[in-house]
Amino acid sequence: MLAEELPAVEPVDVDWSHVERLLPRRTVPTPTDKAAYPSGWTPQRGNPSLPYSVRRSVNHMLPVYLRIMEDGVKRLTVVRNVRGDIWKLHDELKRHLEETNSRYIASRVNEVSLYVQFKGEYVQQVKDWLRERGL
């Protein structure tokens, strides 16, 4: 279209904050401190007394995941990004899960990839246990 054919325009005085509000953030925000978190999420407080720690994900979530394999038959609870004494965390967590569920739970430790696996579906229990310790 030629410049003469385009419609005439005039500038509009508008509060630019309305436009800025529509643009997304470029980074994940750091959550501010609040009195309560109704969703059950807690920030990482840290626990220097423990010989291990667990690094949160980019979205500030606990790295505990459920892996479902073999068409839903095999379920594994994975705790990733374990730093420090991974075997200590494994032993304590395994003892807690076995006591809570009154059964033997097969587990696995990978020191190279820094994860601990438990056979079964214990994501919520593991997360609660980690939250109690401020991790």
């Binding site: 309305h18 509000r21 997304p24 994940v28 109704p38």
Partner: protein
């Protein structure tokens, strides 16, 4: 009954034997190993019998049933994509996820949380070209939902509406047509296209009933009716209806508007931080109607 010595011998033997498994016991085998028709006893006709079209590889076409109307002609066709453009999807966002987003500051609870704000959080993605016409709020986590929010979604069940209003917030169900959706899902990309903000269309015939109904908090419903339904819903579910003050929790868009503070027909220039509108009276009349 075996003797003591025999038992002990058996147990000693058991320690060295391999574990009993399917590969070391005699059991029925439904699939015997296939044997190729080769060699002295498999040769000559090689399993094809004597003469006939089968021995000469002159088989009838696949699906032929000896003259009987075959299955693939007898059964009528079914078009897999028939009417697919009418099957609209509303990807779910649960109340638990919403509460989590508010707790972790992924979404601003102080202003209206609409389609754009949910997409901008980076946690949810809407693809209008895949027949996704907005978000629906599901009731997972409705017992723990306590934050007063101003929600605008495309569908919500009665329980969800009750949960949001019990927390002291407001919820509206609004319709956005395809052009408006593509602008809302990624406003930055839309502004870079250099296209004026579209005038939102009214819902189609089969959706008008839902969006004009006060019980579903439709955006075209009468506000007085909506207020009455808020009270009746509180009575139905047995909670005290909190008072909602005029302010960010009650801000609403015009039915033809898609962005707050920006009218349809305006052109946004991000680089120069300038907004333009058309001078022509006919065009501006259309956009403002």
């Amino acid at each position: 009954m075996a003797s003591r010595a025999g038992q002990e011998k058996a147990l000693r033997l058991l320690r060295h034997l391999p574990r009993v498994a399917l590969n070391n016991i005699d059991h029925p085998n439904p699939k015997p190993a296939s044997r190729r028709k080769r060699g002295a006893h498999g040769g000559d006709t090689h399993g094809a019998g004597d003469k006939g079209s089968k021995a000469r590889q002159h088989f009838a076409r696949a699906g032929f049933e000896g003259g009987q109307t075959p299955f693939y002609i007898r059964i009528p066709r079914e078009d897999p994509y028939k009417g697919h453009h009418l099957r609209w999807e509303y990807p779910p966002v649960s109340l638990h996820q919403l509460q989590l987003m508010v707790d972790t500051d992924r979404v601003d609870a102080g202003r209206q949380i609409d389609l754009t704000q949910i997409c901008n959080s980076g946690l949810f993605r809407l693809e209008p070209l895949r027949r996704q016409f907005g978000f629906q709020i599901t009731d997972e986590g409705m017992d723990e939902f306590v934050t007063p929010v101003n929600l605008e979604v495309q569908w919500a069940s009665e329980r969800v509406i009750a949960a949001v209003e019990r927390a002291g917030g407001t919820i509206t169900t609004a319709f956005y047509d395809m052009a408006s959706l593509q602008a809302m899902v990624d406003p930055e990309r839309f502004f870079k296209r250099g296209v004026p903000i579209p005038r939102r269309a009214l819902p189609p015939q089969d959706a008008v009933g839902y969006y004009t109904d006060p019980s579903t908090r439709g955006y075209l419903a009468d506000p007085e009716q909506v207020a009455r339904h808020r009270l009746t819903l509180a009575q139905k579910y047995g909670y005290e209806l909190p008072e909602v003050k005029e302010g960010p929790l009650t801000e609403r868009k015009d039915p033809r508007q898609i962005f707050f503070g920006l009218e349809p027909g305006w052109l946004v220039n991000l680089t120069d931080k300038q907004v333009w509108r058309v001078k022509d009276p006919v065009m501006s009349e259309y956009f403002r109607s």
